[in-house]
């Protein structure tokens, strides 16, 4: 018997890749056809979308990483920001002139996930036997410890100032000219944009293949029932550690891109608990355990935070009679709106926007 199609039906499965491919083509072409920027200019609220999209790509990677750990393996962890920070800091150490390594971006793109993977293994090996809430508490603590260590190891990390300048993405001069002519900073931006997008696509494809592989099925079995999974001949401890370390490595890659994009490792407070929770929110909004849901959640939440919210700010400031008023600041209100949205989501669609039918049935059972 051939493997059966997922419960959503063969037709949807066929349509899926083309939707994603279309989106990818749009994003690849966007820098040469900046419709949004032109429209924003025309509306009198100038906003450049590309650098903000880079942020969305980076967070999308982070959400995918967390999805591997929380969504697919069922390991509730609240310390994803720590691996993000470790990736960023490793990138700093490997590229800034203060240290002798100076491997450049491409070296850091290998080094950052390696360091985060190692941290994931070291944290995961002793703690993954903990269940549910206890793992959440340990990882939360780990996140805070990493942040504090990064803040206080000043002779390595430069504390709150962060290491800088982090190396730009190296590319042959011909490619840079082809991308943006003589405009050096534009070439750097476009390089970051396309590399971040490329890494995101690569991660998505790898995770999609993994999801449908033996390991993917083993992980969903583990998430549904650990004891039964062991009865099937699966090694829960090893699977959990693999998923946890894999997610950590992916978060490390996101950290590398983050530091490269900012050209600094930034204040370690950027990698705090709030950050971890925001990534978790993206995942829950989009649909825990689904790759498309992870991307959608990142696009909605981070897009909202980085594109819509500043846009509304500028629009509000230009309204006669409103501009300048301290309350006419949408960014200050956005977390409230965001919290409200999550409450509504939990009420009407607890399994997330993109949840498969089976997950929705399970969520319905849980809420019964």
């Amino acid at each position: 018997m051939a493997p059966p199609p997922p419960a959503t039906g063969a037709a949807t499965a066929m349509r899926r890749p083309s939707l994603e491919l279309g989106l990818l083509v749009l994003l690849l072409a966007y820098p040469w056809l900046p419709i949004f920027d032109l429209a924003a200019d025309a509306a009198g609220v100038p906003l450049r979308l590309e650098p903000r999209l880079v942020t969305v790509f980076i967070y999308a990677l982070l959400v995918l990483a967390l999805n591997l750990q929380v969504g697919q393996a069922g390991l509730l962890q609240l310390g994803i920001a720590a691996f993000f920070g470790i990736g960023a800091m490793t990138t700093g150490v490997l590229t800034v002139t203060k240290f002798p390594f100076q491997l450049g971006f491409w070296g850091a793109l290998l080094g950052a996930p390696a360091a985060a993977l190692l941290a994931g293994l070291l944290l995961g090996a002793p703690t993954l036997r903990l269940r549910g809430d206890y793992l959440a508490i340990v990882t939360l603590g780990f996140g805070e410890v990493v942040r504090t260590v990064l803040l206080n190891l000043e002779h390595i990390t430069d504390g709150p100032r962060g290491l800088n300048p982090v190396a730009e993405i190296w590319a042959p001069a011909g490619l840079r000219t082809w991308l943006a002519g003589d405009d050096g900073s534009r070439a750097s931006l476009l390089l970051t944009y396309h590399v971040a997008l490329g890494v995101l696509v690569a991660a998505f494809v790898v995770l999609r293949v993994l999801e449908r592989s033996r390991v993917g099925r083993a992980l969903s079995a583990l998430r549904d029932d650990e004891l039964a999974a062991a009865c099937m001949g699966l090694d829960p401890a090893r699977l959990k550690l693999q998923a946890f370390a894999g997610g950590a490595a992916l978060a490390g890659i996101a950290g590398c891109l983050y530091a490269t994009n900012l050209t600094t490792t930034a204040d370690p407070n950027n990698y705090d608990f709030n950050n971890a929770i925001m990534v978790l929110c993206c995942l829950i909004l989009g649909g825990l355990g689904t790759l498309r849901g992870a991307l959608l959640g990142a696009a909605l939440v981070i897009g909202f935070d980085n594109v819509l919210s500043p846009l509304l700010d500028r629009a509000l400031q230009q309204l006669p009679g409103v501009g300048g008023h301290p309350l006419a600041n949408f960014s200050a209100w956005r977390w409230m709106l965001f919290g409200l949205l999550l409450v509504v989501m939990m009420r009407v669609r607890p399994a997330g926007l993109f949840a498969p039918a089976t997950a929705r049935a399970a969520a319905g059972e849980a809420a019964r």
Binding site: S220, A229, A230, C231, G233, D235, E365
Partner: protein, 235 residues
Amino acid sequence: MLSVRGLEARYGSVQALRGVDFDVAEGEIVALVGGNGAGKSTTLCCISGLLAPSAGSLTFEGRDLQGIPAHDRVRLGLSHCPEGRRVFARMTVAENLQIGAITRADKAAIASDLDQIEAIFPVLAQRRTQAAGTLSGGEQQMLAIGRALMSRPRLLLLDEPSLGLAPLIVQALFAVIADLRRRGTTVLLVEQNARAALGLCDRAVVLERGTVIVTGRGSDLLHDPALHAAYFGGS
């Protein structure tokens, strides 16, 4: 095939097994019967490796099982169908069955086993693409047994297959278990429904408070007055 010697197990300070001895020969159906807390499930968990015994030895086909983790025992041909069905609720029926064969690499044989299991439990073929969590209790139990069979076990450990099922479904299930033996699978069965289990099995091992009090042919024990008094009440 399987020999259990002096098996002891404890949950914290509670000693659940106090020296259990019995054997299972190839091709047999052996029933472990006894009241609540007698140690039936605990014995199964020790055999499958979900629980580490505190003393005693387990030998499966001449191999000492000590130190072999649960997931590796599946590869040796031991399959434990745990109490309470425990199907993977968010996966489809077909995915559940495929997970059962995850230790195997022989695709053609897996496919033919899948066909065989769907022939034994036709309802699983009808529900192939349905989420396992949406199945009825009896269907879930059939799925759990089918899933355990997908590893092609030499010895199947069945824990309370009749739990919570309607009498008619229990009858059908027991017919399937009898059929499994004809196909060459040895079965060690834990049952609370002692009457039904004794009718089905070749031999029964009666446990009480962590020790074996009687072993014998199922049909003999069925008419053993002492056992009647202890488990079925009356005379």
